[in-house]
């Protein structure tokens, strides 16, 4: 597994999709920053300590990051077939289940890193604007929330990565499916039950973005674990179908 993880890291060097994902993360930070220029009760939103770090989470999660993470994950899996490298890997031979697992682990790490990048941008901007208003407790709280967002979003979108990999119709479909899936979170967040159940919004329940009861947190954990199980089931079926 160590070799496979090393190989996966090598394979995404100079990959455009990685830069697309980084660019999308920076762009969502810029858009939220511009949204923060709106004046509310005599002051700009962005001038309120914690506003930027709070608002970047749902904006990034509902509109951008799940799609780019799903794109990256399915690209990593689908490219072996599309670039015909799977033939050479099979002749080594490489265990395909381990290969897929390595790709999922890299996607998982990437998901966390993207959220941490977003955290770093929002924190630096907040520190630049009003450093004295930020407390260590607040910053660490946001750091934890972003980390859990990255963790949870990977679990939430993992069935899409698995499904698109199985379809073999091109990894760009993952972007489309994940975008629809994450955007639907906007409507699911309107009820306390559905927001804890729907995987995308369940992430917020766990990360602490929503004030949630213990029951809601448990429901959200179950929802995300089911996603994890579903993706494992789909990927297992994919291996069998080969």
């Amino acid at each position: 597994m160590k070799k496979l993880l090393w190989a996966e890291r090598q394979k995404i060097r100079r990959s455009n999709i990685v830069w697309i994902a980084v660019f999308a993360t920076v762009m969502v930070a810029v858009i939220v920053f511009l949204g923060g220029q709106e004046v509310y009760e005599g002051s700009r939103n962005i001038d309120n300590a914690g506003w930027y770090m709070t608002m970047a989470q749902p904006w990034a999660t509902i509109f951008v990051l799940p799609a780019v993470i799903a794109l990256l994950g399915s690209y990593m899996i689908c490219r072996e077939e599309q670039e015909d490298t799977i033939k050479s890997l099979r002749l080594i031979p490489v265990n395909e289940a381990s290969l897929t697992a390595a790709k999922m682990i890299v996607t998982f790490v990437f998901s966390i890193l993207l959220y941490l990048l977003l955290f770093a941008i929002t924190f630096l901007v907040e520190a630049f604007l009003h450093f004295s208003d930020l407390s260590v407790e607040m910053v660490l709280g946001f750091l934890k929330a972003y980390f859990l967002d990255g963790f949870g979003i990977f679990l939430a979108i993992s069935p899409i990565i698995a499904f698109v990999s199985r379809m073999k119709k091109g990894y760009w479909l993952a972007l489309l499916f994940a975008e629809i899936y994450s955007f639907a979170g906007l409507f699911m967040s309107m009820s306390n039950f559905t927001k804890a159940l729907y995987p995308i919004t369940a992430v917020f329940t766990i990360s602490g973005y929503y004030d949630a009861s213990t029951n809601q947190v448990i429901l959200s954990c179950i929802s995300l674990l089911l996603c994890c199980y579903l993706s494992a089931f789909i990927l297992k079926g994919r291996e069998k179908s080969k």
Binding site: K3, Q10, K11, D84, K87, L91, I92, P93
Partner: protein
């Protein structure tokens, strides 16, 4: 225990209604170059894929290194290097970076394995050019480098000179020959180019429409295709006796009930005709013939020639 590195028995592959490979019995001997010759679509790649376990076998058997391959026999893979169709690599990486990945995943222990493999095929080590910018010839060379990276005993090369320029073809040919002669590698190579196979192979298999029409050593094939005198007579046993006793001839073959091939073309045909007629053997015809390998290919495939 035979000395075949690869042996197929009634190997068959059916895609839907179409039989791509039909009851092929292939025998690749240790330390020799076996050339699988056939037109595009004849079934060469499918045979190689079945040997490597890259496609399922409809019926029949494949033995590699004496082991029966059922599905993907992973134990034999480290002993094989292969290039099938166009070699696939990661376009965003350089040739060296691509090979380093495969070397690491293979667990290639030899130091400088990547550097040596690239040197053999004439590609630069640590070159900056990405695989996506490679020409077809460079891609093919990198595929060969990947196949020899782990110093395998058996090489399975599917049209390895595809896309190479004439100098590149000659270089690859020499290098393949050296692998067999100097390092004792067994090589199964496919091509639709007859001249390439004739210059390289020790043994040859001619395949057409999924059927292996002929399998013999190159020397036997050359013997069949060398200059000869075609002699048609009324009584073959009697004529043979005269040729052997009177003219001390041994290098000849009987083709059918009335036809002989005499491979010593320096014979005095006048004297032979006279001797046969004296013994009441009717000489129907006698002529000097010279079949080329292409003529032979045409003859056995019953169709057009090959490049």
């Amino acid at each position: 225990m035979n000395d075949f590195v690869i042996e197929t028995k009634q190997l068959t592959k059916v895609y839907g209604e179409q039989t791509a490979v039909n009851s092929v019995n292939l025998h690749v001997k240790k330390g020799r170059i076996y050339g699988l010759l056939g037109r595009n679509g004849a079934g060469k790649t499918t045979i190689m894929k079945m040997i490597l376990g890259l496609t399922s076998i409809t019926s029949g058997e494949v033995d590699v290194f004496g082991k029966n391959i059922k599905g993907r026999e992973k134990r034999v893979y480290p002993r094989i290097g292969a290039i099938i169709e166009t070699p696939g690599f990661y376009p965003n990486l350089t040739g060296t970076e691509n090979l380093e990945i495969f070397a690491k995943l293979r667990g290639t222990a030899a130091p400088h394995a990547v550097e040596n493999a690239l040197k053999v095929v004439g590609l630069p080590y640590k070159g900056k050019k990405l695989f996506s910018k490679y020409s077809l010839g460079m891609k093919q060379r990198l595929g060969i480098a990947n196949a020899i990276l782990h110093d395998p005993e058996l090489l399975i090369l599917d049209e390895p000179t595809n896309g190479l320029d004439p100098i590149g073809i000659a270089e690859v040919r020499d290098f393949i020959k050296n692998l067999s002669v100097e390092r004792g590698k067994t090589i199964l190579i496919s091509s639709h180019i007859l001249s390439e196979i004739s210059l390289l192979a020790d043994d040859i298999g001619i395949i057409d429409h999924g059927v292996l029409l002929e399998e013999s050593s190159m020397s036997e094939l050359e013997k069949k295709n060398r200059k000869y005198i075609l002699l048609q007579v009324s009584d073959i046993p009697k004529a043979s006796l005269i040729l052997e006793r009177q003219f001390h001839l041994k290098d000849y073959s009987v083709q059918d009930d009335h036809t002989l091939r005499l491979y010593d073309t320096a014979l005095d045909m006048g004297e032979i005709n006279k001797a046969l007629v004296t013994q009441n053997i009717t000489v129907i015809s006698s002529q000097l013939c010279n079949d080329t390998l292409e003529d032979y290919f045409k003859k056995i495939t019953g169709g057009e020639g090959i490049a």
